[in-house]
């Protein structure tokens, strides 16, 4: 069986006017199903660029990226949208909830594009909100929720489709220490109990400590890649 993520000599080159910016420079990387990876590196090193490519929001300028063995590099926008909807969940630093729309409807959003019945959408979104500890807050608007709660709605939205891959680009960057810990505990549980592959970008060492593998990026290349914690055995931990 192929790995979940295989990056092979991936380049991303932006062109701003006459200037070329090489955000990724021949980066190679393999991540297996079920891993919990922290990506670190200084600002501008290419972490977000990499995450966008891994999340099929963007495509490499050169090189190969295979997701579940499928070459993503030359797929059409609508095909990429389908892959994102089926396999990937996103959590952003700035939450990115739709304003003036309830927690439930925000969590529903990916199902909205799956053509499920309204009833099913609601049931699944409510269940996802329950999994991040937000039962009873279904009809709250983003402005009525704390930062940590908003980020939990975003996580519910990411996992409502039961994705195989959850990408979180600095998910705790806008949160206080306590909320950060709550969010990280939720992600840890999702990885441990449901086997969801999580890739997380962070600047904070204590956040990165939740992951089992730490990849440091510098100037668009992998600087170091090490296992920081023994991976849980292939059989899930019994409760």
């Amino acid at each position: 069986m192929s790995s979940l993520i295989e990056c092979e000599d991936v380049w991303k080159i932006y062109r701003v006017g006459d200037v070329e910016v090489q955000a990724l420079r021949g980066l190679s990387l393999t991540i297996e199903q079920g891993e919990f990876v922290a990506i670190m590196g200084s600002s501008g090193s290419g972490k977000s660029t990499l995450m966008n490519i891994l999340g099929c929001l963007d495509q490499p300028t050169k090189g190969h990226y295979r997701l579940n063995g499928i070459e993503v590099g030359n797929l059409k926008p609508d095909h990429l949208a389908g892959i994102r909807n089926q396999q990937i969940g996103f959590v952003f630093q700035s939450f990115n909830l739709i304003p003036r729309t309830s927690a439930l409807e925000n969590a529903q959003l990916p199902l909205f594009y799956r053509g499920l019945s309204l009833k099913e959408q609601r049931a699944q979104a409510a269940a996802a909100l329950g999994r991040v500890g937000l039962q009873g807050r279904e009809h709250h608007y983003p402005t009525q929720l704390s930062g940590g709660q908003q980020q939990r709605v975003a996580i519910a939205r990411a996992l409502v489709t039961s994705p195989s891959l959850l990408l979180a680009d600095e998910p705790t960057g806008n949160l206080d220490t306590q909320s950060s810990q709550e969010i990280m505990k939720i992600l840890e549980t999702l990885n441990r109990d449901e086997g969801i592959t999580i890739i997380l970008v962070t600047h904070e060492v204590d956040v990165a400590a939740y992951a089992a593998r730490e990849i440091v990026i510098k100037d668009g290349q992998v600087l170091s890649d090490r296992v920081t914690r023994a991976r849980p055995t292939s059989s899930p931990v019994e409760a």
């Binding site: 966008n52 999340g55 949208a81 990115n96 594009y113 799956r114 053509g115 309204l118």
Partner: protein
């Protein structure tokens, strides 16, 4: 309907409700356009129907021939100034033109009519009996006079409703009464059923009919014996009118010995010609309506496009999020198209309500007849839908073509 479309419509309505003032101002163009079209078409239809009804009171398949040359509209001040048409013309026309089912003639003068101690000045018409059938006159009581009455120059009269009202007490039976015209006693033998206003606006019920021969010999004075004020003809089929009119012209020119270079000394109008004058006016009205509708729907459409472009910009991040969680291009496209159509349809519906109210108020206040047809409502609705679709297309396409990463990063 799929859950997607349904939820998108709900979302669109919610966004409208949230920005009520903005949405209202945006819809104003469509509202006014649709309302104007509906109100004016209803008024136009009502007026057209009324005019058609008036033209129908002329009779069925009627041709009118006046002496002298008249204006193109067929409107003519008074009859009888030129003495070019005669009873023998009318009789000869009937004999020589098989298309003519009948011919009739009339000569009129305004005179005083006296009954008891009351009097009334009204037009006295000396007519042939055929005139009554050609013009479709019917009776509320009594009946027409006959050829025998004409031959014997009998002193009998038929009177219209307006004349009845002015000469008789309410409830009094005019048939059998004796009225005097120029001191000549006439026995009333029939009361005419009302016709109302003519297409030219005169009261057709202000009238007294007496036999042509009686009028010539006993009322009008004998200076021009045999000359008529107007002649009437009728055909069995409406399609025969133009041909019959042409044949009448040839016969009359020959009878009047007109040379090729001489103009007609008479004027022929058919019922169809009169209808055409009216149709012409309603066509002008329709073109005006079309212009007003186009301009206001265009303005409304541009308003919708503008507000949607603003909305796309304001919601760039939201579009990015939707794309990130799996919205395809057609999903985003649909969302904004549905928003545009919701705006235009709500505007169209308001416009329809406003237009109908306006038409009803016009009837109520100005007393103009209005006809609200289902067609114009359906068309107005359809047009607002098309406007929404057309002017929503550009903003929707713009939204659908956003790059997800740039959209997510938009501040």
């Amino acid at each position: 309907m799929s859950a997607f479309v349904w939820l998108t419509i709900l979302t669109a309505l919610r966004i409208l409700a949230r920005n009520r003032l903005r949405a209202g101002l945006t819809m104003l163009g469509i509202v006014i356009g649709v309302a104007a079209v509906i109100a004016m078409v209803s008024i136009g239809e009502g007026a057209k129907r009324a005019v058609q009804a008036q033209i129908a009171t002329m009779g069925t398949n009627v041709i009118i021939i006046f002496p002298g040359v008249t204006s193109a509209s067929g409107v003519r001040g008074s009859q009888g100034s030129a003495v070019t048409l005669t009873v023998s013309d009318a009789l000869d026309l009937k004999k020589r033109i098989p298309l003519l089912a009948d011919t009739g003639w009339t000569r009129r003068d305004v005179m005083q009519i006296v009954y008891g101690n009351r009097n009334w000045n009204g037009p006295i018409n000396g007519i042939s009996p055929s005139y009554l059938t050609i013009r479709d006159w019917s009776f509320t009581s009594g009946g027409p006079f006959s050829q025998t009455d004409l031959d014997s120059a009998a002193r009998v009269a038929l009177i219209g409703q307006t004349t009845v009202e002015n000469l008789f007490e309410p409830g009094e039976e005019p048939v059998g009464a004796v009225v005097r015209i120029k001191n000549v006693p006439f026995r009333v033998i029939g009361v005419l059923a009302p016709k109302g206003q003519s297409a030219q606006g005169s009261d057709q019920d202000d009238v007294i009919f007496i036999p042509f021969s009686t009028a010539e010999r006993k009322v009008f004075g004998t200076s021009f014996i045999g000359s008529v004020g107007a002649m009437f003809g009728s055909t069995d089929q409406v399609e025969d009118l133009p041909m019959a009119a042409e044949q009448i012209r040839e016969v009359l020119r020959a009878r009047h010995r007109l040379q090729t270079e001489q103009n007609d000394d008479f004027t022929i109008r058919t019922q169809v010609d009169l209808g055409k004058v009216q149709e012409g006016t309603s066509e002008t009205l329709t073109m005006m309506l079309f212009a007003i509708a186009s301009v206001s729907l265009l303005v409304g459409g541009i308003g919708i496009m503008n507000i949607l472009l603003v909305s796309v910009t304001e919601r760039t991040r939201e579009i990015g999020v939707r794309m990130a969680v799996g919205a395809k291009r057609h999903h985003i496209m649909m969302q904004f198209l549905i928003e545009a159509m919701t705006l235009s349809l709500v505007g169209g519906a308001l416009g329809i309500v406003l237009g109908i109210t306006g038409a009803k108020l016009t009837t109520l206040i100005a007393g103009w007849p209005t006809i609200i047809s289902g067609n114009v409502i359906v068309i107005a609705f359809f047009f607002s839908l098309v406007v929404g679709l057309f002017f929503g297309l550009y903003p929707a396409n713009k939204a659908a073509r956003l790059n997800p990463i740039e959209a997510l990063r938009y501040e």
